[in-house]
Each structure stands twice: as structure tokens, then as C-alpha cells.
């Protein structure tokens, strides 16, 4: 990047935005790359996701035909744990700047606040998509190795896990997107509340409280509703490959619910960022 280049290109209105955004993107990428624990957190996400998925796959047995288990969902159980680390990563991407006062430096360098947030979101999404893909593929591979030993065999009606299978591919791609949406939800929330502690508590509360509440609600209709609006339960519906009709919400519709939550959080965050003094 040549800093002089931007000055010259800034003459044309469209070009100016484009170049500035590219520069901001580059800056945000450098920040995330040099933040110190980004790499460690991403590695932790992958490790936890694969380990929990592997453990679950090892624990669940399928003794005979029609045991009703969903092997793909089992292998991807680790996402429920990995998402917590992704949420931390996303929250810290903005809260750390508020915590250290660096946000002022950032906004001095790039006065358009939405550009900053958009660049952060883009960089974060890219990073999470990459590590999420690694985590999901490794989980599926582990499942493919472990599950047949637990009775998930052709004799019991289970083919080995493969991405060539449509629903499996959907579950895999959906899980990666799920992680990216969790990152955006966390980023939006953290932008809105600024403080890391409050942001983390809000995001984890939002994710984990719905499923717990669902267990208590004694009315099937309400239960159904809760599952449909819960960011985690609805979002993870994309992992389902069997008994699709019995699920409270369809795979892509479920991911759509999470996307709506993420969009709302980002919108709130950007509105507040725009309106607020730093």
C-alpha cells in the first residue's frame, strides 16, 4: 500500500471510498493479526470444537437400526463450545480498543465510523470462516473415523460421513456460517455496549439462556416458539440431516433467525457508534 496513492485517488468520490475502505481493511487486518491472542483463540476454537465433537461421537452408540441419531450433528457438537471462543475473539476485537483508548486513534485515522465497523466485520468474518472451515472439516473427519466403531454403520443405515452427501454438506457449510454469524453478533453487541465484560455476558446469555429456558417451559407451543427464536437452537438447526420435519425450524430458516439476531446487533452497534462520542 502506498499512502501517496490514496491521496491522489481520493479525488474521485467513488474511488476514494473504495481505496479508503481497502486501507481500513488492511489496517484492521494488521490490528487483528498483531493483537497477540488472535492466533491462540482461533487455534483454541478449532481444538475445542474438534475435541468436543470427537468426544461426543465417541460417547454416543447406535446399537441397532433406527436409533434415530444424527451422526453429522453429533460430529459437529463441538460448535456449541467453539462458539464461545469465537464470541470472545469478536468481542475483544472492539472492546479492547475501548479498554485501552485506542478507539480514539482508530477513529482519528479513519473518521468514518461505519467504515471502521464494516472493515472490522469483514476481517473478522474472513478469519472466522477460515478457522471455522478447518474446525468443521476436522470434526467431520474425526466423526468419520470414530462413528462407524459405535454402530453408525451401513448395516444400521448410516453411510460414512462425506461432503458429497447434500445434507452433510449443508450441515458443514451451515456450521461455518453459524460461527461467522456468532462472530458478527458478538461484534455488534460489543460495539453497542463497549465494555468486554458486559458484551461477553450478554452474548453468552443470549446464546445459552434460550435452550435452558426451553427445558423448563411446560407448554409445547411455547417451547416450539422459543426454539424458533433462540439464536443458538435455531441457528444450529442447520446441522440437522435426519428427521428434518420434526425440527422446530428448517435448516436455512434457522440460520436466517441467527442472521437476523446478528444483523440487529450490528445495526444497533453501528447506530450507537455513529451517534456516540467516543
Amino acid at each position: 500500500m502506498n499512502p501517496l496513492g490514496s491521496t491522489r485517488l481520493a479525488d474521485t468520490a467513488n474511488g476514494a471510498w473504495h481505496v479508503t475502505f481497502t486501507h481500513t481493511l488492511h489496517a484492521e487486518w494488521t490490528k487483528l493479526r498483531t493483537a497477540g491472542d488472535t492466533g491462540r483463540l482461533l487455534l483454541l476454537t478449532i481444538t475445542l470444537t474438534v475435541a468436543v465433537g470427537c468426544g461426543t461421537a465417541k460417547a454416543v452408540k447406535c446399537p441397532d437400526t433406527g436409533c434415530g441419531q444424527d451422526p453429522v450433528k453429533l460430529a459437529l457438537t463441538g460448535i456449541t463450545v467453539g462458539q464461545a471462543v469465537i464470541a470472545v475473539l469478536a468481542v475483544l476485537a472492539i472492546s479492547n480498543e475501548y479498554g485501552t483508548g485506542m478507539i480514539r486513534t482508530t477513529l482519528t485515522a479513519v473518521p468514518n465510523r461505519l467504515t471502521v465497523l464494516a472493515a472490522k466485520a469483514t476481517v473478522l468474518t474472513t478469519v472466522v470462516l477460515a478457522s471455522g472451515t478447518a474446525a468443521v472439516l476436522a470434526s467431520l473427519l474425526a466423526g468419520r473415523c470414530v462413528l462407524p466403531g459405535n454402530g453408525f454403520t451401513a448395516a444400521h443405515g448410516y453411510a460414512p460421513l462425506t461432503l458429497a452427501d447434500g445434507p452433510t454438506l449443508r450441515a458443514a457449510a451451515g456450521s461455518v456460517l453459524y460461527l461467522a454469524l456468532i462472530a458478527l453478533l458478538a461484534l455488534g453487541t460489543a460495539t453497542a455496549v463497549r465494555d468486554a465484560a458486559s458484551a461477553i455476558a450478554t452474548v453468552l446469555g443470549l446464546l445459552y439462556l434460550f435452550p435452558i429456558l426451553t427445558q423448563v417451559v411446560n407448554n409445547p407451543h411455547w417451547q416450539h416458539r422459543l426454539q424458533q427464536i433462540s439464536p443458538m437452537t435455531a441457528g444450529l438447526a442447520v446441522q440437522a440431516t435426519v428427521h428434518l420435519r420434526e425440527r422446530p425450524i428448517g435448516p436455512w430458516a434457522g440460520l436466517g433467525v441467527l442472521a437476523t439476531w446478528a444483523a440487529t446487533a450490528l445495526m444497533t452497534g453501528s447506530l450507537l457508534l455513529h451517534a456516540r462520542d467516543t
Binding site: 491472542d37 461426543t56 460417547a59 454416543v60 452408540k61 447406535c62 446399537p63 441397532d64 433406527g66 436409533c67 434415530g68 441419531q69 450433528k73 453429533l74 457438537t77 456449541t80 463450545v81 464461545a84 471462543v85 464470541a87 470472545v88 468481542v91 475483544l92 472492546s95 479492547n96 479498554g99 465494555d195 468486554a196 465484560a197 458486559s198 458484551a199 461477553i200 455476558a201 453468552l204 446469555g205 445459552y208 439462556l209 435452550p211 435452558i212 429456558l213 427445558q215 423448563v216 417451559v217 411446560n218 407448554n219 409445547p220 407451543h221 411455547w222 417451547q223
Partner: protein, 532 residues
């Protein structure tokens, strides 16, 4: 300067010993003077109550039992199922009933595609002909026909031999309690004042005592006779546990009576009118009794005479712990506040000021833990007390039943909720000290407390793994909120997914407390060694 520095008391004055209260006072002042923390604590209280009330705010599903206001209560105050077919006459004073039980058979709808989510099926599938393990037929002496009244009974069961049971919770195995008793089997129940003794015999001449019951204050005039009943059939499939309707049929010989019995004929009554929450008649069978050619009777019944337990057999009702579901929300907030209580000092460099004022670092952390834990426990306790009072009132109004608990149990749940919050707060404080970063610390604490619970209760994992999770992770602490009883003589799903923790209440809390204590110890060691 207002005081001459030389007049300062020397450093070794006896009053110097009260160092810890001073540090505690300072930390308390620190906490209460940050408005955000005070508001967050109030928020934790509020969110515990609101989430708890929202979680139990759904209207009654209108299913079985929705119209009855409360579970029948046994003499011990516990919720009971008291549903059986009773062939009875009135007995005044002492007396004996002897009868031969020629067979105990059962009918159950199986393979009805039921699972734990929907409770019971419609009974459209195959029918199996064998008595359920806890199907019962025998002799019962009961104070009256109302549910929950005191009783004692000697009986044969489908799978657990001859038993003597009384007052719902008491169950004694009789002699030769083999899984498959030989028939005919002689049963005898002797009433003498408030003392009842059951006997069994295989030949009618050699009697063995099956058990003894003392029913203090038993009325002089009681209902006594023959009964049969069967809880629902429990089926374990790979997808889960299902329950389906089942009935039991006992074929009795001619009853032999001594004592002052009413002269009227034997009358048949379905006690409770239906089969209760744990029993259900099949589509084709109703409770009934018919005389046999040899002067005996065939009695068919469904239901159970037993305490209500959790799981699908509980029916539509709430337990005390259901109202406390908001504890999770409150805990998240309290953990966040407790973490920031220390990480905020790191972030602002304030810890150096704190350590300058109180160089004993263990003392500072101890005072902080006491303040954070104390505030959390009071918050948890108050929230639990308010939620229980409000929740029980509002759900009763909407036709839900609430599993009754003794006031000691309720006190344990409330105090336990407070201590649960305190332990989580201390854990959060310690992890915050170790990691020094609020974001990662809070995530670690919340994830370690809430995630294992979520994984264990979601039903994804097999029960063994779920129970293991709730034994060794900080989520074990929620056991302190469990009020659901477990009885060997009642079949249900005693698993985390139905609210059963593998550890006893205080043992579970001790696991979380252990985590908090270890983390606190490590934090003190680290804080002492580290430059701040």
C-alpha cells in the same frame, strides 16, 4: 497538616491486629461506590426473577391433570399418586384378611412411538401380556377412599416379588422376593390397632412375615380389601425412554376374613377416578372386578400407589427448581461483575494503589472474595425467595400443579442458590485474577458452569456421559436446587435430562465450591508472586 506526625500511634499498637476488617471495609466501599456494579447486581436479582417467572409463565397445556389444582399429598406431605382399583368392605377395629393370589398378569400398549418429549402415547400399537415390574396386586388397608390417606398393603409385584408397602414412600421387600414368584401365593394382612403386619406363604400353612407398618392415628373404621394397579410401561429405545399405558390384573381366590367386617357385598372403586400421573388405562381396558367361579375375584386396575417423581411420569406440573431457571441468567451477570471487580483494577492500574494501601495480597483477595461472594449469595438468596413466592402463586392460579416440598427442602434450595451464586462469584474473581483479562475470564467461567449443564441436559449425550459431566464440572453445583425425589419402587427416567443430578445437593455444591477454592488458592499464589 492537622495532626502532628509524631503523635501518630506506633506501628505495633494492638489495634493493628484488626487488619482484615479494614481491608474488607475498603473493598466493600470500592464495590458500592461504582454505580455500574451496584446496578448490575440489582439487574442480576431482577433477571433471576423475571427469567424464572417467564420460564414458568406458559399456560397449562390442557393435558392430563391440568384441571386438578394440586397433587394429592401423602401423610408425610409429599406428592403422591394414589390410583388403583379397590375392591373393598369396611373393617372396624382389628381384623385379618387372607387371600390367595392366583396370578398377576398385565396388558401394555407397546411400540406406540412415544418418547420422553410427548409423555404418553395413544396406545394404538401392539399389546403385550405381562405384568409391569411394579404392577401390584394384593391386600390393602386404607383409612378412606380419598387420595393420600394412610394405608398399608401387602402385595405381589410384576417383577420385584412380594412387598410390604405403606404410606406411599415405604417399601419393604418380602421373603423370597424373586423376580418371578410362584403362583398361587398366599397373602395375609393383620390389623391390630395402628399396627399392620403382612405375611406371605406358598402353601397356606407356613407363613412368613413380609413386613410391618405402624400407622399412628389410623382410624378405627377403615376400608380394606383387594387391589390391583399398574404404572405405565417403560420402554427403553435407542432414541430415548417411552411410557405407554398398562394395566394389571390380579386373580384372587376366596378372601378369608376375621374381625368386624361390614355385611355388605364387596364394592369396587377406582380410587382417584383416573390412573394418576404415572398410570394410564389402555384403550381397551377399564378398571373393574369380576367374581370368579371359586368365590374369588379378578381385579383389573391401572395407576400407582407411590410418591410422585420427576420425569415423564410427573405429568403437567412444576418443581421448585423450575422457578429458579433464572439463576443461570443471574449467575452470568454476577460472574461478570465479580470478574470485573478484579480485572477492572488491572485495567486501570488501580491494583497498584490497592497493593500499596494493603501490601498483604492474600488479604486483599480474601476481602474481595468475601465481598463478591457475600453480595452474590445475598442476591441469589433474595432472588430465590422472591421467585419461589411469586412463581408458586402465579402458576397455581393457572392450573399447574407444584410438587410440594418440605420447608426444610425449600430453605435448602434458597440457601443453596445463594451459595451457588457465591461460589460462582468467587470462581469468577479467582479466574479474573489469574487471567487478568475480563473477556477471557468471564467466558471461561460462564462456559464452564453453563455449558456442561446445557450439554448434559440437552439429551444429545448418553445418560452416563451426562451424569459424569454433572459430577466433575462446576455445573455440578446446580444439584443443590434439585427437589425431585427418587424412589427405587417408582420407575421413571432419573437422568440429567429430567432434572436428576448424579450428586446429592450439598455434594454437588461442594464440587463447585471446590473449583472456586482451588482457583482462589491459585490466584492467591499467583498474585503473591507476580509484580503488579
Amino acid at each position: 497538616m492537622t495532626t502532628a506526625p509524631t503523635s501518630r500511634p506506633p506501628a505495633t499498637r494492638p489495634a493493628e491486629r484488626d487488619g482484615f476488617p479494614r481491608t474488607l471495609h475498603a473493598e466493600w466501599t470500592k464495590f458500592r461506590t461504582v454505580r455500574g456494579w451496584v446496578l448490575a447486581t440489582a439487574g442480576a436479582l431482577l433477571v433471576t426473577i423475571v427469567v424464572g417467572l417467564l420460564g414458568t409463565a406458559a399456560p397449562a397445556p390442557g393435558g392430563r391433570g391440568a384441571h386438578s389444582a394440586a397433587y394429592p399429598k401423602g401423610p408425610g406431605g409429599e406428592a403422591v399418586n394414589d390410583s388403583f382399583y379397590f375392591v373393598h368392605r369396611t373393617l372396624t377395629g382389628d381384623g385379618t384378611l387372607t387371600v390367595a393370589l392366583q396370578s398377576l398378569t398385565g396388558t401394555a400398549d407397546t411400540d406406540t412411538g412415544t418418547d420422553t418429549d410427548t409423555g404418553t402415547g395413544t396406545g394404538t400399537g401392539r399389546t403385550a401380556r405381562s405384568a409391569q415390574p411394579w404392577a401390584k396386586a394384593g391386600i390393602i388397608v386404607k383409612e378412606g377412599l380419598t387420595q393420600g390417606s394412610p394405608y398399608a398393603a401387602v402385595m405381589a409385584t410384576g417383577g420385584h416379588g412380594v412387598r410390604m408397602q405403606y404410606n406411599y414412600t415405604h417399601d419393604t421387600a418380602g421373603p423370597l422376593s424373586k423376580a418371578a414368584p410362584e403362583y398361587p401365593r398366599q397373602l395375609r394382612l393383620v390389623r391390630s390397632g395402628d399396627s399392620l403386619t403382612g405375611y406371605t406363604s406358598t402353601d397356606g400353612s407356613h407363613w412368613t412375615k413380609a413386613g410391618h407398618a405402624k400407622l399412628p392415628g389410623l382410624a378405627r373404621t377403615v376400608q380394606a380389601g383387594l387391589f390391583a394397579t399398574s404404572p405405565e410401561a417403560k420402554q427403553n429405545t435407542a432414541t430415548g425412554t417411552g411410557f405407554s399405558p398398562a394395566v394389571a390384573t390380579g386373580t384372587f381366590g376366596r378372601p378369608a376374613l376375621t374381625g368386624n367386617w361390614s355385611q355388605s357385598a364387596w364394592r369396587g372403586t377406582q380410587v382417584s377416578g383416573d390412573a394418576g400421573t404415572s398410570g394410564s388405562y389402555t384403550n381397551t381396558t377399564k378398571g373393574d372386578f369380576t367374581p370368579t367361579s371359586g368365590g374369588g375375584y379378578t381385579v383389573t386396575g391401572a395407576g400407582d400407589i407411590a410418591p410422585v417423581v420427576g420425569g415423564p411420569v410427573m405429568g403437567a406440573g412444576f418443581t421448585v427448581e423450575n422457578f429458579l431457571v433464572g439463576t443461570f441468567a443471574g449467575l452470568i451477570v454476577l460472574a461478570a461483575v465479580s470478574t470485573v471487580f478484579i480485572t477492572g483494577e488491572y485495567r486501570h492500574g488501580l491494583l497498584r494503589t490497592t497493593m500499596t494501601a494493603t501490601p498483604l495480597r492474600g488479604r486483599v483477595l480474601g476481602a474481595k472474595a468475601l465481598v463478591a461472594g457475600g453480595i452474590a449469595s445475598v442476591t441469589g438468596l433474595i432472588a430465590a425467595a422472591i421467585t419461589l413466592a411469586l412463581g408458586e402463586h402465579s402458576t397455581r392460579g393457572r392450573g399447574f400443579r407444584i410438587l410440594p416440598v418440605t420447608s426444610a427442602t425449600e430453605a435448602r434450595v434458597m440457601a443453596g442458590t445463594g451459595l451457588l451464586c457465591a461460589a460462582a462469584a468467587v470462581l469468577a474473581l479467582a479466574v479474573g485474577t489469574l487471567l487478568r483479562r475480563s473477556g477471557t475470564a468471564i467466558t471461561l467461567v460462564i462456559a464452564s458452569i453453563v455449558l456442561p449443564f446445557l450439554l448434559a441436559t440437552s439429551g444429545v449425550l448418553p445418560p452416563g456421559v451426562s451424569q459424569w459431566l454433572l459430577r466433575v464440572t462446576p455445573a455440578a453445583g446446580f444439584a443443590v436446587q434439585q427437589t425431585l425425589p427418587q424412589y427405587a419402587q417408582v420407575l421413571s427416567v432419573y437422568e440429567p435430562s429430567t432434572g436428576y443430578y448424579p450428586l446429592a445437593p450439598w455434594a454437588g455444591l461442594a464440587v463447585l465450591g471446590g473449583y472456586a477454592a482451588i482457583a482462589f488458592g491459585l490466584a492467591v499464589v499467583r498474585l503473591r508472586r507476580r509484580d503488579v
